[in-house]
């Protein structure tokens, strides 16, 4: 555990110093520009627009940053041989990859917190009230980022190029967001297609379960609240990271 903790700590330190966090600056600019543009509209539309653009931007930029860090750790460092430094120490490969993963999601948490704080302040200034829903949204964005980071680590370990690692991870992100919509089409599909969609739902991260918009629409709230979604995300991350550790254990560098 000591190795996992220290690898995570130094990963966070490295990520915090890297230029990748400058994406957050783009986010800040985007949110403020949109705030000024929508200030011309009515108050209700303005707040809704800032909220939607802001949440979308928090999710998209933290996704991009996590994707970049995950590909770097699991693919680029193998290519540029930096990985030789830790792997020529008496550390279990599984501990190393878990530590790196933890460091990346901690970096993502920091980025989401920073961007979320800014967005919340902006919305407070417009509305003059705090809404706890925002904090829950940031937490669910974090869960989604944790899932896609684990998937990207696994994909990167199996990839033969940086571009394919990015592309496949991006496709998984999009597929994960589409699974819920495909469900509505099941009645129209052949039994074989239905089976395939069900298998996909087990393999791909089902982000519909983590979309707060669906919760507020009452789709899941009545059944069991947020806990099943949180447990699903945690279970998914552990399953994928366990697989990634098994691949990493056998991987040659």
């Amino acid at each position: 555990m000591k190795a996992v903790y220290n690898v995570a700590k130094y990963t966070l330190l490295e990520n915090a110093r890297s230029k990748s966090f400058s994406l957050s600056v783009v986010f800040i600019a985007l949110v403020f520009v949109s705030a000024f543009i929508f200030a011309k509209l009515s108050e209700v539309v303005e707040i809704r627009a800032i909220q939607d653009i802001g949440m979308g931007a928090v999710q998209f930029f933290s996704f991009l940053t996590a994707l970049f860090f995950a590909v770097k750790v699991a693919f680029v460092e193998g290519q540029n041989k930096t990985i030789y430094l830790p792997l020529t120490r008496p550390v279990k490969r599984s501990e190393y990859i878990f530590g790196r993963y933890l460091g990346i999601i901690l970096s993502a948490a920091l980025e989401i917190a920073a961007m979320g704080m800014l967005l919340t302040i902006l919305l407070y200034l417009k509305q003059a009230k705090f809404d706890s829903f925002y904090f829950l949204s940031y937490f669910f964005i974090f869960l989604k980022i944790s899932m896609i980071t684990a998937v990207t680590v696994l994909i990167s370990l199996a990839s033969t190029s940086q571009a394919s690692a990015f592309i496949f991870s991006f496709l998984v992100w999009i597929t994960g967001h589409s699974l819920g919509e495909v469900e509505f089409l099941l009645d129209e599909m052949s039994p074989a297609m239905v089976t395939m969609v069900r298998i996909f739902k087990w393999i791909f991260p089902n982000y519909t379960l983590l979309n707060l918009a669906d919760y507020t629409a009452g789709r899941f709230m009545a059944a069991a609240g947020y806990l099943p979604a949180v447990l699903y995300a945690v279970f998914y991350v552990f399953a994928v990271m366990w697989l990634a550790a098994a691949v990493f254990e056998k991987k040659e560098f």
Binding site: N6, V7, Y10, R17, L85, P86, E252, F253
Partner: protein
């Protein structure tokens, strides 16, 4: 006759690289029936042309890749994370973490090597003194010059005071002053009792410090010879051409 202790043993080792591309597998034999002994306490130089298999042999010893056949022993044991804790490795180029300072890197690698805080501090003082790193130990590695990075690279290999030091092309990219400095460091470390295996294609430099040399040709050891001044280049060319 006194039995010479071995630091590194390769017995009939074979290694094939397999690359999958669109359901086709391309195979390249990097090492074939590769056998080699490195004695404890010596400086052994593995020479060969590019692609001869030098780095593959090093990676096998470090457990970074796994053999397809044959046996390898590092300090008397099969390569494993545990035995690797007694080995220091300096890669061909300074592959380091650019956003960390040298001190942070040594701290992390010291922890991963199982050193407690007191031993890490002691090791850092010893290494800083040995490699004159005091003025840049707190500088981000990415902002250091090539020469400084080379020293950081050597230092990280020494942080856990290893018995065996593996140097892959240690002179790569260094200017003449850097080469002379690196040679001095290697000699000092050997004088402290460390076994050194280095790969190189700089024959003149190898000749200056190695006790024995192994010449690799197309994945096999062509010959192992004691290094005699002025003769290594001739022996090397005879073996590889």
């Amino acid at each position: 006759m006194e039995k010479v202790e071995k630091a590194l043993e390769f017995r009939d080792v074979g290694k094939i690289y397999r690359r999958n591309h669109f359901f086709k597998t391309a195979e390249t034999a990097a090492l074939k029936d590769f056998s080699l002994d490195v004695n404890k306490g010596e400086i052994f130089c593995l020479l060969g042309l590019n692609g001869a298999g030098k780095t593959t042999a090093v990676k096998l010893a470090l457990n970074l890749i796994f053999p397809d056949s044959g046996d390898i022993k590092v300090l008397g044991e099969k390569p494993s994370p545990e035995v690797v804790s007694r080995v220091g490795y300096v890669s061909e180029s300074p592959y380091l973490f650019p956003y960390l300072t040298a001190r942070e890197l040594f701290n992390l690698l010291g922890i991963l090597s199982g050193l407690n805080a007191a031993r890490r501090a002691q090791a850092m003082d010893r290494i800083c003194d040995f490699l004159s790193m005091g003025d840049f130990i707190d500088k981000k590695i990415g902002e250091c010059s090539k020469g400084m990075q080379q020293r950081v690279l050597l230092a990280q290999a020494l942080i856990h005071d290893p018995d065996l030091l593996i140097l892959d092309e240690p002179y790569s990219g260094l200017d003449p002053v850097g080469i002379a400095q690196m040679r001095q460091y290697i000699e000092k470390l050997n004088a402290e009792g460390k076994t050194i295996l280095m790969t190189s294609h700089l024959i003149a430099e190898s000749e200056k410090i190695a006790a024995r040399a192994g010449i690799l040709k197309a994945g096999r050891i062509a010959k192992v010879i004691p290094v005699r001044q002025g003769l290594l280049e001739k022996e090397f060319l005879e073996a590889v051409l």
